[in-house]
């Protein structure tokens, strides 16, 4: 908030500064680095001299200039002694030499340099200008962008002067853009110059450029207007594509969350045919495992905080996997072949687990922190990508392929597939079907627990965490096609992207409702999902 307010304030100040600079540059050429002249002027304590000194300081390029100007702004700039010298008043009244930044030993009696409103404006202007010639390239670029947004013709000559000195290509292009932005609206330049400016701005391709191009004066030559219209059209098309890409990215991010939530269910429901309504609670237990791990780390091993998620993932897998095995051994194994009864029993288990967590940890949200590598953002073109979301997508895909590999390549995976395809034949071959059932359910639950670790980063960790995912998870699995992991992947990503593409038109809630209706209708069309297992049985 404050930084944006500063940005909006900057241009006005900056233009004044540039005008001042330009004037100052004409009258006197101050040797770079040498600021003894302006410093002497400050000791006269006359407003005119102070103003002139500020102009000279702004142009000097001296590294000390910024400190002096800001000291003056704070009322910390003092002068005194014979001959009079300028000092910066440090903490506790100690005097500091403005050039060396060392404390002064023989401190004379001093009084502050006087400041009035005129000087304050000059201070603002000087500090703005200093950022344009600041040694920090980022600050120079920011200042150039601010000039571009202000589009004040008075700043043009000074901008030209700054351009001539600039070496950093990024800053230079920002200054060129600022110059073009000013030229577009300027009276009395040739159409060719204006078209060149239009093209330069058009190449920028963002919202600001769009606003600038729309302000081409009515009096401009027809070919200029044509060029501007073409550039506007190009930018709008470009922005629409980027907006779409951003929505698709959000959609993939949502899809990866759905994938994480649903992938464990794809095992318990899709492979085993158990309607596990307690699946959401497995996710919730995983999230609480993360919370407990972070609590232990906070109290005992603060240095390990960045590794907390990596520690929590295997722990959550083992913990929820064991709970899953326990549930399978005590309840579900008595209910095989009675899908709807399983639904009721697991719903009961989900209520018990929720209440247990509520009793232990309380009903309120628990704070799970993000390690440093999960926070931050980077840009790809006009896309803003957060590391947290990126890691969740990567993690979801890793879990997906690890699971696929387990089912395809390992012995236990082979046994799982054998048992689900033909239980009695598998038993005849010596496979311990009971044990495989327990392991399969444990695997599905464990994966749900790992999903919980990731979801703890983007959702509230509360006893109700699982409830919000259970309906979506079932829809993903049913939509993708039961018993088909690839279907789950495609289903999750399709639903995620469709949801985010619908949102701009329908709003978040209506978009969600529309999606539910679409999935319900889709299941009418393909009752066995996107990738139905082919079979010849009449009753699957």
């Amino acid at each position: 908030m404050t930084s944006s307010a500063r940005l909006f304030r900057l241009p006005r100040v900056l233009c004044a500064a540039l005008a001042l600079l330009f004037a100052a540059a004409l009258v006197q050429r101050v040797e770079a680095q040498d600021i003894s002249g302006p410093l002497a002027q400050l000791t006269t304590n006359k407003y005119d001299d102070t103003e002139a000194a500020l102009g000279a300081l702004a142009l000097s390029g001296s590294p000390a200039a910024a400190g002096i100007v800001s000291a003056l702004a704070d009322g910390k700039l003092v002068f005194g002694g014979t001959p009079p010298r300028v000092f910066i008043e440090g903490a506790g009244g100690a005097l500091i030499d403005p050039l060396t930044m060392q404390p002064v030993t023989d401190a004379p009696a001093v009084k502050p340099v006087r400041v009035n409103n005129r000087i304050r404006r000059a201070i603002d202007a000087a500090s703005g200008a200093l950022s344009l010639v600041s040694p920090d390239a980022v600050k120079r670029r920011e200042a150039a962008l601010a000039v571009g947004r202000s589009r004040d013709e008075a700043a043009l000559p000074a901008l030209d002067a700054a351009l001539a000195k600039e070496t950093d290509p990024k800053v230079k292009s920002a200054m060129n853009l600022a110059r073009a932005s000013i030229l577009i609206g300027k009276e009395g330049i040739t159409p060719a110059e204006r078209i060149a400016a239009v093209e330069l701005v058009g190449a920028e391709g963002n919202q600001d450029a769009l606003a600038i191009l729309r302000s081409v004066p009515e009096s401009a030559a027809p070919e200029v207007k044509q060029a501007a219209a073409a550039a506007i059209e190009g930018i709008e098309r470009n922005l629409a594509i980027w907006g779409m890409a951003q929505n698709v990215w959000y959609g993939l991010s949502l899809g990866s969350v759905l994938l994480l939530a649903a992938i464990g269910l794809a095992i318990t429901f899709g492979v085993m045919g158990v309607i596990n309504m307690a699946h959401g609670e497995m996710v919730m237990l995983g999230a609480y495992t993360t919370f407990v791990v972070q609590e232990v780390i906070r109290t005992s091993y603060p240095g390990l905080f960045d590794a907390s998620l990596l520690i929590a993932i295997p722990l959550a897998f083992v913990f929820t996997g064991l709970i899953g095995v326990l549930i399978e051994r005590t309840v579900i194994r008595f209910l095989y072949g009675r899908a709807l009864e399983t639904l009721l029993a697991t719903w009961g288990i989900s209520l018990i687990l929720q209440q247990a967590i509520r009793t232990i940890f309380g009903p309120t949200n628990r704070e799970v922190g993000a390690p440093s590598w999960m926070s931050g953002t980077f840009d790809v073109g006009h896309l803003a990508i957060t590391f947290g979301r990126l890691w969740i997508i990567v993690f979801a895909l890793m879990v997906f392929f690890a699971l696929l590999g387990t089912l395809r390549l390992t012995r236990i995976g082979l046994e799982m597939r054998a048992v689900t395809q033909n239980r009695r034949m598998a038993a005849s071959m010596g496979i311990r079907t009971n044990w495989v059932d327990a392991m399969t359910f444990g695997l599905g639950s464990g994966i749900a627990g790992m999903a919980g670790v990731a979801l703890s980063q983007i959702d509230n960790v509360s006893p109700n965490l699982g409830q919000s995912y259970i309906i979506d998870s079932f829809l993903v699995v049913v939509f993708g096609g039961v018993g088909n992991l690839w279907g789950t992947l495609v289903g999750a990503m399709t639903l995620g992207v469709a949801n985010k593409l619908l949102e701009p038109y329908a709003g978040a809630v209506l978009g969600k409702i529309a999606l539910l209706v679409i999935v319900i209708l889709f299941i009418q069309k393909r009752p066995r999902g996107l990738f139905a297992l082919k079979g010849r049985s009449i009753e699957a």
């Binding site: 209520l351 209440q355 829809l475």
Partner: protein, 387 residues
């Protein structure tokens, strides 16, 4: 064809022993409770305070709701996880009538617009609120709104042969979508707060003891009539086809029946019964809000039926009253934090140890003792229906 089927099987009596007992209990309750409320002095031990009358009335509407679930789950094998949606729609239809009855007595005193619309700065009544100032129209909507939704939903679902688990999941998605929709203020149904602050119904003060007694008796009447209707349906030829669909849908198709039409009729009747239950529930509870649509509510209805005994009708009603009595008892005392443990444990225990529910288990026991007695209801095969 239909004649040969009816001749071959002995037709059970319309009500049967347990049905007669059920109706007798219902009549006794609907006579006793008003008498104990009105004629007995308030300090007497057997006096029934008015709040208990409303509570019992609420149980009776739940029993009717459970009955509607049993009709489709117990006899057709449709496990709807969205039955709460039909209940809530019936409730909203009644709630809209009650809102229009408030008139100028609302906080903002607008003669036409309910308070929440004035609050949202709406200028006129949305079209779907027209007619709800007339009771007959509202009563019609209590049947039509859930009935139409069930018709459209069922027509799509049964025609494309979505069955078993898939059907359960999409019914759940349906009620979830409605939950989200009714939470929106823009929908014009009071958003989050729902409809409440009712004043009177058909000119009678809704808070008055007399009105509450009448509503209670009406609930008992609706439950009794609903029971007789369901019994009539399930023992008819139509009902036999339903049971056949439950046990072997494909075979029924191969025999030449349009299974989807039978299922659709049962589904719509069940939705309308649920709607009536909702309409009787709202004036006794005094509020209807979107949480009635929550999928968890619908699943809870299933457990009432499972506890009482699926496919017995009487059991569904019994289960609804028992579970809700337990809920009231436990959630009000010191045991409140443990209620969810108990409810969850009940789900697990009933499915593991009492798969036929209380009434179903009783029937089994009686059948063993008197093997030639005719069996009311349609007992379910031990392993449960094929899904």
């Amino acid at each position: 064809m239909s004649a040969s089927v009816t001749n071959m099987t002995r037709q059970p009596a319309l009500l049967g022993t347990s049905g007669l007992i059920f109706l007798a209990v219902l009549v006794a309750v609907s006579v006793l409770v008003p008498v104990l409320n009105l004629a007995v002095a308030p300090d007497s031990a057997v006096h029934v305070p008015t709040y208990v009358v409303s509570l019992l009335g609420k149980y009776l509407t739940y029993a009717l709701l459970a009955l509607s679930v049993d009709l489709i789950w117990g006899y057709v094998g449709i496990l709807s996880l969205g039955q709460g949606a039909f209940f809530a729609l019936g409730g909203y239809a009644m709630g809209m009538y009650l809102m229009r009855q408030i008139g100028t007595r609302g906080v903002y005193g607008d003669p036409v617009l309910p308070d929440f619309m004035v609050f949202l700065n709406w200028k006129e009544l949305p079209w779907f609120w027209y007619g709800f100032d007339m009771f007959p129209f509202a009563a019609l909507m209590v049947l039509l709104a859930p009935g139409l939704l069930a018709l459209v939903f069922g027509w799509f679902a049964f025609r494309s042969r979505v069955t078993g688990v898939y059907l359960s999941i999409i019914t759940q998605a349906m009620t979830f979508a409605l939950l989200l929709a009714f939470f929106r203020n823009d929908m014009g149904f009071g958003g989050n707060n729902g409809l409440t602050d009712f004043k009177d119904i058909l000119g009678f003060n809704i808070q008055a003891d007399g009105t509450r007694l009448v509503l209670f008796v009406l609930s008992a009447l609706a439950l009794g009539l609903g029971y007789v209707l369901c019994r009539f349906l399930v023992r008819s030829h139509f009902g036999k086809v339903l049971v056949a669909i439950r046990d072997a849908e494909t075979r029924v198709r191969f025999t030449g029946y349009r299974a989807e039409n039978y299922k659709l009729v049962a589904f719509v009747v069940s939705a309308m019964l649920a709607g009536i239950a909702g309409a009787l529930y709202v004036p006794q509870v005094g509020i209807i809000n979107p949480s009635e649509f929550s999928p968890a509510n619908s699943i809870e209805i299933i457990v009432w039926v499972a506890v009482g005994g699926r496919g017995t009708l009487v059991g569904a009603a019994l289960g609804a009253v028992l579970v809700n009595y337990a809920k009231t008892y436990f959630t009000s005392g010191i045991l409140a934090p443990y209620w969810l443990f108990m409810l969850g444990g009940l789900f697990v225990a009933v499915t593991l140890f009492l798969p036929k529910g209380i009434v179903g288990t009783y029937y089994d026991w009686r059948e063993k003792r008197r093997p030639h007695d005719d069996i009311p209801g349609a007992p379910i095969a031990a392993a449960g229906p094929a899904e």
